[in-house]
Amino acid sequence: MTPLVPILVVPAAAGLLCLLLRSQRAMELANVLAFAVTLMLSVLLLPAVLQAPYVVTECNEFFRADALSVWMALLISAVSLGSSLYAGRYFQRDLAARAVTPGRVKEFYVLTPLFSAGMFLVVLANNLGVMWFALEATALSSVLLVAIYNRSTSLEAAWKYVILGSLGLALALFGTVFTYAAAIDQRSAAGLPSFNWSHLMSMAGQLDPRMIKLAFVFVLVGYGTKAGLAPMHNWLPDAHSEAPSPTSAMLSGVSLKVALYALVRFHILTTASLGSSFSQTLLLVFGLGSMCVAAPFILVQSNLKRLLAYSSLEHMGLICAGIGLNSPITIFGALLHMGYHALTKPVLFFAAGNIHQTCHTLQLRRIGPGMARVLPLTALCLGLAGAAAVGLPPFGLFFSEVTVLSGGFASGHTAATVLLLAAILASFCGILYQLTRILPGEPKVARSSDAAPLDGVPAMALMLGALLVFSVWLPAPLLEVMRQAARIIGGAP
């Protein structure tokens, strides 16, 4: 009995269980337990994927997990666990400050497990239609999460998120239908072709190139909107800055990557059928586009959470460009970057949450200098995570960035890589300048730090600890699963 089905069932069950529970402590415990179990199950999945058949399938190929999906599952469970650990104290303080009603908190505890269950389904589904359905489910569950606060701005953010998201998914469905149509035309005697990705990969050679090309265009615009790539990214800063911090941590940390995962599945399919030049250039262009669009916004940003949202846009651009450069080193670098970013970004959002609840504002000017005096531990975590996010060496993001850059040079894309580095430097300057405006110095206005100093720190410390450990010592199975996932994206079976 492979752990595939339990990974999906456990969070879904926790979500439904929370429907029945009354007290917030119980719901929080249910969430944390569910995600801890999923993390263990994902880790259990690792050895299974690393042996000979390199694939784990369940109920005749409906669920399929190869190295890439296991790596994604690990990230999803890690980020979900972190944010559920943080959510407990966060909502207690929100309830105390009457920023949110108990009903909405219950909504949070019901929807978050469904949200991550949806994401697990995306990465484990073999059928492209089911993958679309799972992504639609995550979109819908996260919309209500974004709209938890009753402020007019969070409603606006939720509306834009749902309209742009649903439109993107409609386009993606159109693309999926096209892919299936291309497969239907080639049906040999074996009756109706199954909509499974593995099956499509096996007959990729004979698919009609024109149809696949058109399908990839629609899928790129569709799933690209959900992944927040450049021209379709406008909902991202609004949604991530208006959502409660644990949700924006999950949104930024991993839900963007899940959408990119879906896009990469189609990229692999398109590369298999009509060679790598078409989809690879598109991914590279959109990746670079995202980074170049994010840079000016980071430089002149005045809201802390929007700054972090644009930084996620920039990191997603780097990952997409890394995969777009399509050389084994850059793809490995992109996957490594995914892992490190998934550990860094939540800590940043948790710290932003603490600051938001203490200063009751996210405007960097009004937060003012001296946060290190007001919230020492949160400021320390924000400083360390900020250093990691901008790519300073002791943390892993520097290694993955240099790996992508050196891969770009090795594969001859010199101009693109120079542009990549320029965007990284611009975002470095922007984020560093904004953080040093609020962390050091003496607080101008006396802030009563009602938030007990240790609030939310265990979650942040856990994730920062994991980041530091994995920056210095990367366990062999993780390295192997990333290398294998890189081979899958690179086109090996």
Binding site: N127, V130, L155, E156, W159, I163, L173, S241
Partner: protein, 223 residues
């Protein structure tokens, strides 16, 4: 009853697809919200018709009946009822002026139809039932997109989204001779239902806080 000859079936399918396109153009120019909802119901009815014809003409595609049935129940009766209940509760009858006036938007829809056919041209040569419905599907998609941009009312945007959905379902039916596997169809249908419910909830909340459905008021988040 022996299946009718394919020639007769593809003629009916093309007719119904054209009907859907006409209904879509009517929705673009129509200003009253309730009539828009009824037009959407009509469009869904035509889609269900196409599905029935396909199921009827292919012996092995029994699951397409299920699809037709669901479309009929869901999109022709349940959804419009839900939406019109919402409209009546908010007593908002009249749509305010769209971005582009009627004639300009008609011209644009013409252009989209042309673009749809250009896109679909290389694929119509395949011997398949209703071979040029793909062009209609793409046009439906583009005009639905335009409708969403053109109108400022939140509920109209939901309707536009549903017409885009209809376009995609038409493409699904047209391109894949037997329609998509049942589990995928069910999933898509179920998602549509939840989406409309969530959208309805959000529209209600927007109506509460903004006391108007005008989407252009939602522009405080900048930079």
């Amino acid at each position: 009853m022996k299946p009718p000859n394919p020639e007769f079936a593809s003629q009916w399918i093309t007719l119904l697809a054209a009907g859907m396109l006409v209904v879509q153009l009517l929705m673009v120019v129509q200003r009253m919200l309730l009539t828009n909802i009824r037009l959407f119901a009509l469009q869904s009815l035509m889609l269900a018709g196409i599905a029935v014809i396909i199921a009827f003409s292919h012996a092995s595609a029994t699951h397409v009946y299920w699809v037709a049935g669901l479309t009929l129940v869901g999109k022709v009766f349940v959804l419009p009822w839900l939406l019109s209940r919402q409209v009546r509760r908010i007593q908002m009858e009249h749509e305010i002026a769209p971005l582009l006036n009627a004639s300009a938007s008609m011209l644009l829809c013409g252009a989209f139809t042309l673009l749809g056919y250009i896109v679909a041209r290389p694929f119509t040569s395949l011997a398949r039932l209703g071979n040029n419905t793909l062009g209609v599907a793409v046009t439906l998609l583009l005009t639905g997109f335009f409708l969403m941009v053109n109108r400022r009312k939140a509920l109209t945007q939901v309707l536009a989204l549903l017409t885009v959905e209809n376009g995609v379902m038409l493409a699904a039916v047209a391109l894949t001779t037997y329609g998509m596997p049942l589990v995928v169809e069910l999933g898509i249908f179920f998602d549509l239902m939840v989406a409309v419910m969530v959208l309805g909830l959000l529209v209600y909340r927007i109506r509460e806080t903004f006391s108007s459905m005008d989407v252009s008021k939602l522009s405080q988040l900048r930079g």
